[in-house]
């Protein structure tokens, strides 16, 4: 909310500059988000002038050449295009050197051959109003920064700032949703009063020149009191529509409102001051002079002020006259009963609407305004009469109106003020610092609460405008704390009884797994949880695939972000494509994050934490000495090995097809009877869909890894004796998997076998068609002695025999 500072100071004027006011408001909960300078930055070169004569321009019909007394020895020649300029007027003049609100600096300018020594100003050029009336004529104006009538026509040469509000500091405030009472200038003034101790002027609505009682000229029926707790209306007659005075226009403009005419401006002014929106009807255009507030019919169409036809639903509220809907309650008036230049009778509606209902309707209809923004926060019914009182006085003063006796007031009775006990000890217990009972009472009274001392603290009664926000002792403690307490709060640490910070096993496994990949040169990415349904097609997932059981959003930002990712592969592929196109073809990345599936079991989704790796291109930068390897199945498997061996997991792979993987180069990763994930090269069609060449990947469920990884690693004994190493070359049918060979060796060798691995694979004419040679590195070890070839000879024989059973032959 934008609050012009002079307006605020009218009610509370602490001895502080704008920076001081900003600091006090911000530190007590009304955050100043910005300070704007409305109007001109410097008032220099802006003066009062008197037009001595306004003659025709020799070369332009629409321009006049004016001789203007600006308080100097010689009058200034000023070319002016406004039709209303005339000799004898007192006007506002910008002299060369003046900097206009938009930042342009005025110079001597030649206009159609005549040098102009300045500019006669219209309101909009000073950001005071809309400027529809041509140049400002200061004769008989109210040269004042406030709504007070004042005297004589100013003398030429007088600084313009002395007679017109051409420069104003405006504070832009963040009003938290619990404080609709601060959506008006006076509410903010009360905060400033509490925050600074400076005097607060009496509420500007405390004197109401209108009267209560029935109104003869119009009637109102409310059919839905749940959505309209209070509806008030007053009738004004002999209204003269015209422009508002300068002070009013200046304040509205500074507050960010457009100026329209005196009646509309008064409603906006009263709203900005009280926080309560108002609406003016032309009473002569209200058919039957009666209004009915009702729920709209489903699908009902209403023509709004902006000329659009709006379709309503049954939860929206319309106001009817005898001929049907005239406006959508709280959101927008209808064109039919709008105030026009010829309006003479005004019905001023000030009503309370259900905040949530207005919020819903304004979003549904896309109708948002200063008024709807206030209604939706939930205003108190008392505020209706605040606004009526302000508006009534101004209608009389500025529009020459007569207020008809009485006030239509439908449907509300003030509840008794709520009383809350505030225990002194409780304040200290919550804050950790004591605030004296006297100070507590002082703060609360400054905030319009009534307080009564009692044995253990205060009995506090809540003002009407705060009744929704302050309902409990803790709410009062907050009131005390924000005004006095927070700033002097000591910094202490909690007792932390029984608290010992630690990570869970699963969290430690996750960190270690990520670190293992980082340690091997991979970059971690963080992808979007959202993805597009088309991803599932690009991954070639068949209709019945489990990964298609996605979590879908009802209200996504876009189709591209409409489901939650069932795999990390999509994020990795997206990141890979991005980087290949910008940074070259070599990719080694991983992601550690959540994946989602719709769950048939629990109430929530099935979420698990996965880690996935994606490799493409060279595994290392080109080197002057070695040729780096290329990303393929085995490069990915080596990384998977590095990861799982980090946790001493007993794991294996099994050839398995996945729709998005190369059918000959893909495997399931198994451990502890569970499938941890997949490993493989991407199907070329899938890689191609992301403009990638040969690409390998794996993805595993880190939750399963954590469950299988032992949190406790037990020591295994080893002796002082060296290992006996032997190689064994064996040819086998290619159909025999290396894994099976190793399995057999381990199974037959017995406990002296320390390790066995494949260190060479050879196929070719020498080993025969359909066969291949595997070279195995064996190492044997005993705890109690150094093994000899003689010790191992029988073991070796058993191994050879066992391999013979699967077609193995020892190579020479």
């Amino acid at each position: 909310m934008r609050v012009p500072l002079p307006w605020l100071r009218e009610y509370c004027d602490p001895d502080l500059d704008v920076g001081g006011i900003e600091e006090r408001l911000t530190m007590t909960g009304t955050k100043v988000e910005a300070i704007h300078r409305h109007g001109v930055a410097s008032t220099e070169h802006f003066v009062v002038g008197r037009v001595l004569e306004a003659g025709p321009h020799p070369d332009a019909d629409r321009l006049k050449v004016c001789m203007v007394d600006v308080g100097e020895d010689d009058p200034a020649t000023i070319v002016c295009g406004a039709p209303n300029v005339a000799g004898g007027q007192t006007v506002a003049v910008a002299r060369p050197g003046a900097v206009m609100p938009d930042g342009t600096k005025l110079k001597h300018a030649k206009l159609r051959g005549v040098v102009s020594e300045g500019m006669i100003l219209a309101e909009n050029e000073l950001e005071i109003g809309s400027g529809g009336e041509g140049i400002m004529v200061l004769d008989g104006l109210l040269p004042d920064s406030g709504p007070r009538r004042a005297g004589a026509v100013p003398r030429p040469g007088t600084s313009l700032a002395d007679v017109l509000p051409i420069a104003m500091d405006v504070v832009e405030l963040e009003i938290t949703p619990n404080r609709p009472d601060c959506l008006g200038v006076y509410g903010v003034a009360r905060e400033l009063h509490a925050a600074t101790g400076a005097d607060l002027a009496q509420a500007p609505w405390s004197e109401d020149v209108g009267s209560q009682g029935p109104v003869a000229e119009a009637s109102v029926t409310v059919e839905c009191p749940d959505l309209c707790p209070r509806f008030t209306a007053r009738v004004f007659e002999n209204v003269t529509i015209g422009p508002s005075p300068t002070w009013l226009k200046a304040r509205l403009s500074a507050a960010g409102m457009r100026t329209i005419n005196n009646v509309v401006d008064i409603t906006n002014y009263a709203m900005l001051l009280t926080g309560q929106p108002l609406h003016a009807f032309d009473l002569d255009r209200v058919a039957g002079a009666r209004l009915t507030v009702r729920r709209a019919k489903e699908g009902e169409q209403v023509q709004t002020l902006d000329g659009q036809a709006r379709t309503l639903d049954g939860e929206m509220v319309v106001i009817d006259d005898a001929e049907g809907p005239t406006s959508i309650a709280g959101l927008m008036g209808g064109a039919r009963s709008e105030v026009e230049p010829d309006t003479t009778r005004v019905l001023l509606e000030v009503a309370t609407w259900s905040g949530p209902n207005i919020h819903r309707s304004s979003w549904a209809l896309g109708l948002r305004s200063e008024a709807s923004g206030r209604f939706e926060k939930g205003l108190q019914p008392e505020q209706c009469m605040h606004a009526q009182a302000i508006a009534t006085r101004l209608m009389i003063e500025l529009c020459g109106a007569d207020v008809a006796p009485g006030t239509i007031d439908v449907g509300w009775e003030a509840p008794p003020a709520q009383a809350i006990r505030l225990r002194e000890g409780r304040v200290r217990a919550i804050l950790g610092v004591a605030v004296s009972v006297q100070r507590q009472a002082e703060i609360l009274r400054a905030l319009d609460f009534a307080t009564e001392p009692v044995k253990d603290g205060l009995e506090v009664s809540v003002p009407a405008l705060r009744r929704d926000d302050v309902t409990r002792e803790i709410d009062l403690i907050e009131e005390v704390a924000r005004i006095d307490g927070l700033e002097s709060l000591p910094a202490t640490l909690p007792a932390r009884r029984g608290a010992a910070g630690r990570l869970t096993h699963a969290q430690r496994v996750r960190r270690a797994a990520e670190d293992a990949m980082v340690g091997r040169g991979l970059h971690e990415i963080v992808g979007w949880s959202f993805t597009e349904p088309a991803l599932l097609d690009r991954l070639r997932l068949p209709a019945e695939d489990a990964m298609r059981r996605v979590v879908a959003l009802e209200n996504p930002l876009s189709e591209g972000q409409s489901i939650m990712r069932p795999t990390l592969l999509g994020s990795l592929l997206d990141a890979a494509r991005h980087n290949v196109s910008r940074n070259g073809p070599d990719i080694a990345i991983f992601e550690s994050g959540t994946v989602y599936r719709a769950s048939h079991e629990g109430p929530l989704a099935d979420e698990h934490h996965a880690l996935a790796v994606l490799l493409s291109g060279s595994l290392a930068p080109r080197s002057w000495r070695v040729r780096p390897g290329q990303a393929d199945f085995f490069a990915a498997k080596a990384l998977l090995d590095a990861l799982l061996d980090r946790f001493h997991l007993d794991w294996s792979v099994e050839p398995t097809s996945w729709p998005f993987l190369h059918p000959g180069r893909s495997a399931a990763v198994l451990s502890g009877g569970e499938t941890l994930g997949f490993l493989g090269e991407l199907h070329p069609l899938v890689a191609g869909a992301w403009d990638l060449e040969r690409t390998a990947a794996f993805a595993i469920d880190l939750g399963k890894v954590a469950a299988l990884a032992s949190p406790l690693l037990a020591f295994g004994a080893f002796g002082p004796f060296p290992a006996l190493r032997q190689d064994l070359a064996v040819t086998l049918p290619v159909s025999v998997a290396a894994g099976e060979v190793l399995e057999r060796v381990r199974a037959t060798a017995g406990e002296t076998l320390d390790d066995v691995s494949v260190f060479d694979v050879y196929t070719g004419a020498q080993v025969g068609e359909g066969r291949r040679s595997l070279a195995l590195a064996l190492s044997f070890r005993a705890l109690d002695r150094t093994l000899t070839d003689e010790d191992i000879a029988p073991v070796r024989e058993r191994i050879v025999a066992a391999l013979g059973e699967i077609g193995g032959e020892l190579r020479g």
């Binding site: 217990a429 919550i430 709410d475 907050e478 630690r502 949880s529 929530l604 989704a605 080197s623």
Partner: protein, 359 residues
Amino acid sequence: MIERIEQLRTQAEGEISRADSSEALEELRVRHLGRRAELPQMLREVAGLAVKERAAVGQAANAARQALETMIQARVAQLAGEELEASLRADRVDVTLPGAPPQTIGRLHVLTATRRELEDIFLGLGFTVMEGPEVETVHYNFDALNHSPTHPARARTDTFYVEGPPGGSDLVLRTHTSPMQVRAMEAHPPPLYVVIPGRVYRPDSDATHTPQFHQIEGLAVDEDITLADLKGTLLEFARAVFGDERDVRLRPHFFPFTEPSVEVDVSCFHCDGKGFLRDGARCYLCKGEGWLEVLGAGEVDPNVYSHVPTTERNAPGYDPEKIQGFAWGLGVERIAMLKHGIPDLRLYYENDLRFLEQF
């Protein structure tokens, strides 16, 4: 004869010390100590000498021979060492060539690195790290956190709803990590000190908002945890992240599930809280404020405790007259942005290697 021995010895010593190669030394060895050389000859002839002379001559010749042999050996070793050094000096590589094979350097994403740094700070302060579901129920995300049934945050413009059975879903993508407050209290009795890192979602997308982002929730509930304790805890956090000179201030604010609620500012580390730099220019980071807003926090609203049923798991439960505590929610992106000067949130999720390599 003894004089002759001394003469031979002196002559040989001179020649050995002047020799400059192992070949020359070998030649000297043959000349002075070889079978036909004079000194060994004299040794062989000792037996024919008079008994009186025998001992003295034999001793002198032997000593001369041993001395020369030792000297040659030493000189051989010295020359070999020099030759090795010379050959090593000739075997030169260009040390400025890059190491090979190249070792690639991987890095954690700055969001992960930042999250871990923050987790570690709070671990050090005695908080345990918990996690929770991202697809969350309306109950935990809003109801249990004291949001009125008509609270605007529930609107479809502010919250992602998950497609559910016809008639409406009560699942949302959590809009904050706060739903874990109640889940944590349901699972554990007080005292409770936890931080909850995690991904959260809101339907906003521009330079300062991404529809997903990361928070770290903090929750401490015990018999007597005050707002001053919150300040102290966050002061420790601010100093650990932004430097030992930092200060924090609490500004009143509003959140439905804390009361009193505050926003927490840290004194700007770029301008040292002054708002302007040494050259007098306004500090761009804090925009002249001297303070940087880092998070929202407050004392847990008593209404939140009333949403925590007492069960076997968390007995004796959470009675708002007996326990109290604080909670905060901070944005990991925001902390990393401030700390590293990252200008646009979208950089985090673009995953450009030129970005990833920097942290």
